[in-house]
């Protein structure tokens, strides 16, 4: 009986994020008619698609017990690189006007390079991952300013914008059209793919092993440094894709593109159950965290809540999520402590009985 209750509690605890997402959807839908319109619901993830990719990259690094605070600038840099290569000289580009394909390859190359540098600094030189990535954030943002001659580069080829800004179906409604954004689909798809990678591949499981207990993972013959390096490479790839989505949706890139995203990225991942202690949480949960974040963002702004209140409430939500994470990890420790305590008392009794 007791076991069942605690198991039920565990299940609720594990899926808390989806309960919150459902609650958010229901509450905002009942409060606002524009929130519950199909177009708005379908575009919830469209607007936060770039954020989503960064959350994904962050989740990868956090599962191995690391952090990445440089991704917002990585997004900015890749977006700017592509913009410069794509846009005509009149529109703030370099006038190369390369094909979208080349631009995307270029972005991915830059993203991977950032990930490679992060990974090498952290694994080879044993530098503190938080500070390394903070420093990278500053360096990369500086680079964005340096390479961008004007303030904005815009008007890219349609094909380049398709992923970030395109729509798939157009279904006529009573008023206007219902159109499904490509980005929404892409984000869901890539989260599912990542879930499969982390759940169903050897590499994915090695990630969890590294984050759960570095020593034990090493003992099991896992090349832990290599796993961390690959994870940062994937993280770099996510930055590039995020840059693609952001530039595509806005059809432009400015030196500030992506600035200030670090915090939401961190928050969405933690709210989605990715533990800061490493080795816990999954990608579907992280997607839930992203959705909750976008629902709150969208819902509150539709209801005309001051953006400053939104900002403050975000901070409080994150504090709550961090607290929950601390409780979760602590709960585990406490449980084993209680176990030990019980055992030692029982042990005392057992031995006494034996003697008598």
């Amino acid at each position: 009986m007791k076991k069942n209750t605690s198991k039920l509690l565990d299940v609720i605890f594990e899926n808390l994020i989806w309960l919150l997402v459902a609650a958010g959807l229901i509450i905002f839908s009942s409060l606002s008619s524009s929130f519950r319109s199909p177009n708005n619901l379908a575009s919830l993830l469209y607007r936060s698609a770039a954020l989503g990719l960064l959350v994904l990259g962050q989740s990868f690094t956090m599962i191995t017990g690391n952090f990445d605070l440089s991704s917002e600038s990585g997004l900015g840099l890749t977006a700017m690189v592509a913009a410069l290569a794509l846009a005509s000289a009149d529109n703030g580009g370099l006038g190369w006007e390369v094909s979208p394909f080349v631009a995307i390859v270029l972005m991915i190359g830059v993203g991977l390079l950032i990930g490679l540098i992060n990974g090498l600094l952290i694994t080879r030189l044993k530098m503190n991952n938080l500070i390394v990535t903070i420093a990278m954030q500053m360096i990369l943002r500086g680079l964005v300013y340096i390479i961008s001659p004007g303030s904005t580069a815009s008007f890219f080829p349609k094909a380049f914008d398709w992923l970030g800004g395109g729509t798939l179906f157009k279904i006529p409604l009573e008023r206007g059209f219902f159109s499904f954004p490509v980005a929404t689909l892409f984000v869901i798809l890539i989260f599912v793919v990542s879930h499969i990678i982390t759940r169903y591949t050897q590499f994915g499981r090695n990630m969890y092993a590294v984050g759960s207990n570095l020593t034990a993972a090493k003992d099991a013959g896992i090349d832990t440094d290599k796993i961390v390096r690959i994870v940062y490479l994937i993280d770099g790839l996510c930055m590039a894709l995020a840059g693609l989505l952001a530039a595509g949706r806005l059809d432009s890139a400015t030196p500030r593109t992506g600035a200030g995203l670090t915090f939401p990225v961190q928050a969405a991942a933690v709210i989605g159950g990715i533990s800061m202690a490493g080795g816990r949480g999954n990608m579907i949960g992280a997607l839930g965290g992203l959705m909750l974040w976008s629902i709150l963002d969208n819902g509150l702004s539709i209801m005309k809540v001051s953006p400053f209140w939104i900002e403050t409430s975000r901070g409080l939500i994150l504090l709550f999520a961090v607290w929950l994470d601390a409780v979760k990890v602590k709960k585990v420790h406490q449980r084993s402590l209680i176990d030990i305590l019980l055992q030692s008392t029982i042990g005392l009794k057992d031995k006494t009985i034996v003697k008598n």
């Binding site: 503190n128 420093a135 954030q137 680079l143 340096i146 400053f308 409080l316 994150l318 961090v322 602590k330």
Partner: protein, 345 residues
């Protein structure tokens, strides 16, 4: 014996590396950058170093206990906005932010914001030590909450026109030297002396180096860490007061990006991220170095976009030096053991 002496030299050089770099850089800039050594410019450097310096003192104290404080810049923003809100008239000019109309006495306002800073630091310390929350994220979230509240209060607008009495700390001059520069220098000298000579300074470093042993030696690590954050909060509000006095204008984005600079300055100045090692005096050298480079790049009319990148590189460099320090020191222990062992044979 000879070897031991040699090692000591390496250690002394490593420990005071920062002052060496500072001297070399200063000489280089003095020779190569026109107007660098003019009195106005030197005062400019110190002026730039003042607010950053006050914040760095707080950061260094927290770092010495082996923790981070990312919340200080949020406190700078909130304390300046709140002070303005309490002091200025409601809607004095169209398009600017609204004051509360309370028009409180500036001295009272100073008192209020200092209390606020202290209190917020205390709460952060309690969250971290009593609820075992991740310090990095707690202070990051606190930074956001504080700045968020500042945005709400200011409605995102610029507030100008702080009273003269309030501006004294940040704006006034004595014999041509800004008060803020004098105060900051005094603070550095005073705090450095205090932390090197007082019981609290011992406690900070003991807790940072080894909390368990510190506890068994009669200290209370949780209390020490909470106190460090409390001091950090107070100094952040103090820095806010100073900054507002200089600018006479508050906006909620004030102070953004300064957290990283304070961490960088501390690390460059020899404060270890692992806790237990370093001094506020060293951190001051770090502050000077950052200000020096900023100023010189500015005078050389280097593209301001480069400045941020350069700062990032400096942080990386400082980290690299720190990592080397830790790599270097254990070697001393290793070298010693086999030597004795072979004696025994």
């Amino acid at each position: 014996m000879n070897k031991g002496q040699k090692r000591d030299w390496v250690k002394i050089i490593l420990d005071n590396f920062i002052w060496l770099i500072l001297t070399v850089l200063f000489t280089y800039f003095a020779v190569n950058v026109p107007n660098f050594t003019s009195k106005t410019n030197l005062l400019n450097i110190l002026l730039h170093a003042s607010v950053l310096g006050v914040l760095t003192i707080g950061q260094a104290i927290v770092l010495m206990t082996g923790n981070f404080d990312l919340s200080a810049e949020g406190m700078v923003s909130l304390s300046t906005i709140l002070a303005m809100w309490l002091m200025i008239e409601p809607g004095s000019v169209v398009g600017t932010a609204q004051g509360s109309g309370l028009m409180l006495n500036p001295y009272l306002v100073i008192f209020i914001i200092l209390i606020l800073g202290t209190l917020s630091g205390y709460i952060i310390g309690v969250l971290i030590t009593r609820l075992n929350m991740n310090g990095f994220i707690v202070t990051l979230a606190a930074q956001l909450v504080l700045r968020g509240v500042a945005m709400i209060v200011s409605n995102g607008q610029i507030m100008t026109g702080s009273p003269k009495a309030f501006n004294w700390l940040g704006g006034a001059k004595i014999y041509g030297i800004p008060v803020s520069v004098i105060v900051t220098l005094l603070l550095f000298v005073g705090v450095n002396y205090m932390l090197n000579q007082s019981k609290f300074g011992r406690e900070l470093r003991a807790v940072g180096a080894n909390p368990d042993a510190a506890q068994a030696s009669g200290f209370n690590p949780k209390r020490t860490i909470t106190l460090a954050y409390t001091i950090g909060g107070f100094l952040a509000a103090f820095a806010g007061w100073m900054l507002l006095g200089r600018l006479e204008t508050a906006v909620s984005s004030l102070g953004s990006g300064m957290t990283l600079e304070t961490v960088a300055a501390s690390v460059i100045g020899g404060v270890s991220l692992k806790g237990g090692i370093g001094s506020v005096g060293g951190a001051f050298a770090g502050v000077l170095l950052l200000s020096l480079i900023d100023n010189a790049l500015n005078l050389m009319s280097v593209d301001s976009f480069w400045v941020e990148s350069v700062r990032g590189f400096i942080i990386l460099l400082a980290l690299l030096i720190e990592a080397q320090k830790f790599r270097y020191k254990p070697k001393v222990v290793h070298e010693k053991e086999p030597a004795v062992a072979s004696d025994c044979k």
